[in-house]
């Protein structure tokens, strides 16, 4: 086992980022054969109809992308649920990629459950949905918008974890500053 592990580590230092390298190599292969004169058709000028057909959706996408943040950015709620008692409520939950027993998306019901439980801070585990099998999406975008909380999306998809998220009513940078002050 140790021999295998050390060999793997050696390969690792030798060929870092090999997943993306493999993909890039395959793409380059396609271009190597695309340079073949018999196959080379794709450098011809593009017809005006094709230009029109591509440019119109591109313009729509660009304009929509410009408008989306204005519609989806919400002010965070910083008032805790029980300010008179001077307590915070906190919870942690392993969400299993926000899929329920029937493999349907459960982020709406997760949001209503967190609201029902009146949690000021909640940590979620197994939240990295940026993979093909989980639908290439971001769980926190919906939850943070619906609950109006700050979200720390944790380690990214290239860090090789199943992901973790911290939703909080107070910005983590403010929390750090307060801790330093006390």
């Amino acid at each position: 086992v140790s021999v295998t592990a050390s060999r793997n580590l050696y390969c690792c230092s030798l060929v870092q980022s090999s997943m993306m390298m493999l993909t890039m190599g395959l793409l380059l292969t396609g271009f190597y054969i695309a340079r073949h004169p018999q196959l080379q058709q794709s450098t011809k000028a593009v017809s005006s109809r094709l230009k029109r057909l591509v440019t119109l959706p591109l313009l729509c996408i660009s304009v929509t992308a410009f408008l989306v943040p204005a519609m989806r950015q919400v002010p965070p709620i910083t008032q805790p649920y029980y300010p008179e008692s001077r307590v915070i409520t906190a919870g942690i939950w392993t969400v299993h990629f926000s899929l329920d027993q029937g493999m349907w998306d459960s982020s709406r019901r997760m949001s209503s459950l967190i609201k029902d439980m009146k949690l000021d801070i909640v940590g979620l585990l197994e939240t990295d949905l940026h993979r093909t099998v989980f639908g290439n999406r971001d769980l926190t975008q919906y939850l943070a918008e619906d609950l109006q909380m700050y979200a720390d999306i944790g380690p990214g998809p290239d860090k090789h974890t199943w992901g973790s998220v911290l939703l909080s009513k107070v910005s983590q940078s403010v929390a750090c500053d307060n801790l330093r002050r006390y």
Binding site: T29, S42, T43, L50, V68
Partner: protein, 186 residues
């Protein structure tokens, strides 16, 4: 949009000039396999990095205090980069064959994998601009071969890569699983 244009022109009574049928050249099995594999890799990378504009931003996230991009205001920059480069590839059809284009693409991939925050986001923008212009040449090459064979190879390669993507997160203890990771664990 193409279907909508066709329906609209049918209602107007005007016809669209349809391109003439061109018979395929005979291609060898090797060309079919290579073109299919390349197309599969293209499907995979497009699916992983561009289906959600926040994915590559999540790659570069380092937590609070926020020093890098956020998905909501900055995700649109990813879409703009892709749109701009796709339009550029229509104006300059040989863009995807240019060596400089590939140099920039490979460099941005390395930056995206190695760097965090704003530097990594520059790599993310480079990748978003790099991928869409590849579509036309790769599809042209793939269309020279039998569509069934090319689709078979392409989706097999895309599925194997999607499987390896999960393998890298959970099952690095499997022999060979470790080398597929994007980063070492030191």
């Amino acid at each position: 949009v193409s279907a909508a244009e066709r329906i609209y022109s049918h209602h107007r009574g005007t016809s669209i000039k349809i391109l003439p049928f061109v018979p395929r050249n005979q291609t060898s099995f090797v060309i079919t396999a290579l073109a299919g594999a390349s197309l599969g890799a293209f499907f995979f990378i497009l699916h992983v990095l561009l289906t959600d504009s926040g994915t590559m931003i999540a790659w570069t996230w380092t937590g609070y205090p926020i020093r890098g991009p956020m998905a909501l205001p900055h995700g649109r920059l990813i879409l703009w980069a892709s749109s701009a480069s796709l339009y550029a590839s229509l104006v300059f059809p040989s863009l995807a064959f240019h060596p400089g284009f590939w140099t920039i693409g490979l460099a941005s991939m390395l930056v995206l994998v190695k760097c965090e925050d704003l530097t990594g986001f520059a790599g993310a923008l480079g990748m978003a601009a790099f991928m869409p212009p590849l579509a036309r040449p790769l599809l042209h090459v793939a269309m020279q071969s039998d569509p069934i064979k090319v689709s078979l190879v392409a989706w097999l390669v895309a599925d194997v890569l999607a499987f390896l993507q999960v393998l890298t997160a959970a099952y690095a203890f499997i022999p060979g699983g470790m080398i597929m990771r994007e980063k070492t664990i030191q």
